[in-house]
Symmetry: C2
Subunit: 148 residues, 2 copies
DNA sequence: TCTAATTTTGTATTCATTACAAGTTTATCA
DNA sequence: TGATAAACTTGTAATGAATACAAAATTAGA
């Protein structure tokens, strides 16, 4: 039998120690917010995270959600998804990196694999690239099926 | 001698008729806002456009800048650049398409060529892609030089 | 346990964007 | 040309995401 855990499994099992490893105190609120992002890969907004957790954590403040997400972004555990003009969206940062697809019809945001290396050009060699983001906009397979 | 004008030259010469061709009434404000975007490829915010034009057009309202840009986006003359979380930025839409690089030090946003085709993957064939955006974040050549 | 540091919370504030209605300009037609 | 409607612009009010700030609560260290 295989006892080796992958990245996702490891953090699922022990979020508190993962957070501590990243130099973050594992408060109850932080654990629950991180856990929510792990289990809901839907690129939620602050409001969505808050509304999902408020029943379980009646004392939760929206400010805490903002503070926590900003901390996670700073520590590079979480990525801001700026695919919308209105509200910021958040996503667990995965080491490989992936792109996003926004469906104009159902408004869902999908993960899509992207070959990041291939988009680099000669011109970019002069720049020091620290992060890259690829966004697509269009109609998702589900909505295409419904339309036809 | 060559009398053929390219896309940029054509619109430089006659913005009003270009706008009318796109089904947009060529009001003075609209012409000046489009002209500003043509001459300032710096991905300006609404506030920047407004502040640049207010001395020439003392009656100008910020609402008009918003209305006009939203109209241009709708008619696909202009593209929203959602590289910042705070303010929307605007860019003349060019047929070939290009990526953007945000320098974390001088906060400028640069155009960078991108081979869009190369980022498509098999997974995406199920989606109907209408637009794609590539953003980089890092340090620009100027700032790299200053740092060293 | 006592004390300091950290975290959470609630409220007030900021500010980009939109909503709306009134004023102004432009187009249409007799 | 002059009247009338349509389109556009403007100013102000409203919305709402995000931050600032200070007090309350929790945690860590001595
Ligand atoms: Mn994602
Ligand atoms: Mn550009
Ligand atoms: Zn869809
Ligand atoms: Zn720079």
């Amino acid at each position: 039998m295989n006892t080796k855990l992958d990245w996702g499994e490891m953090m699922d099992l022990n979020i508190p120690s993962f957070l501590r490893n990243q130099g973050i105190k594992a408060s109850y609120q932080r654990i629950r917010i991180y856990e929510y992002l792990m289990n809901n890969r839907t690129h939620p907004t602050v409001a969505e995270i808050y509304n999902a957790l408020i029943t379980d954590i009646p004392s939760l403040s929206k400010t805490t959600v903002y503070n926590t997400l900003n901390l996670f972004v700073e520590k590079e555990l979480v990525e801001e998804v700026t695919i919308e003009g209105s509200e910021m969206r958040y996503d667990i940062k995965d080491p490989e990196g992936h792109g996003h697809f926004k469906c104009t019809q159902c408004h869902r945001i999908f993960d899509v694999p992207v070959q990041i290396e291939k988009i680099f050009t000669d011109e970019l060699s002069e720049f020091h690239v620290q992060a890259q983001f690829v966004h697509f906009v269009g109609i998702c397979p589900d909505c295409l099926k419904k339309n036809s």
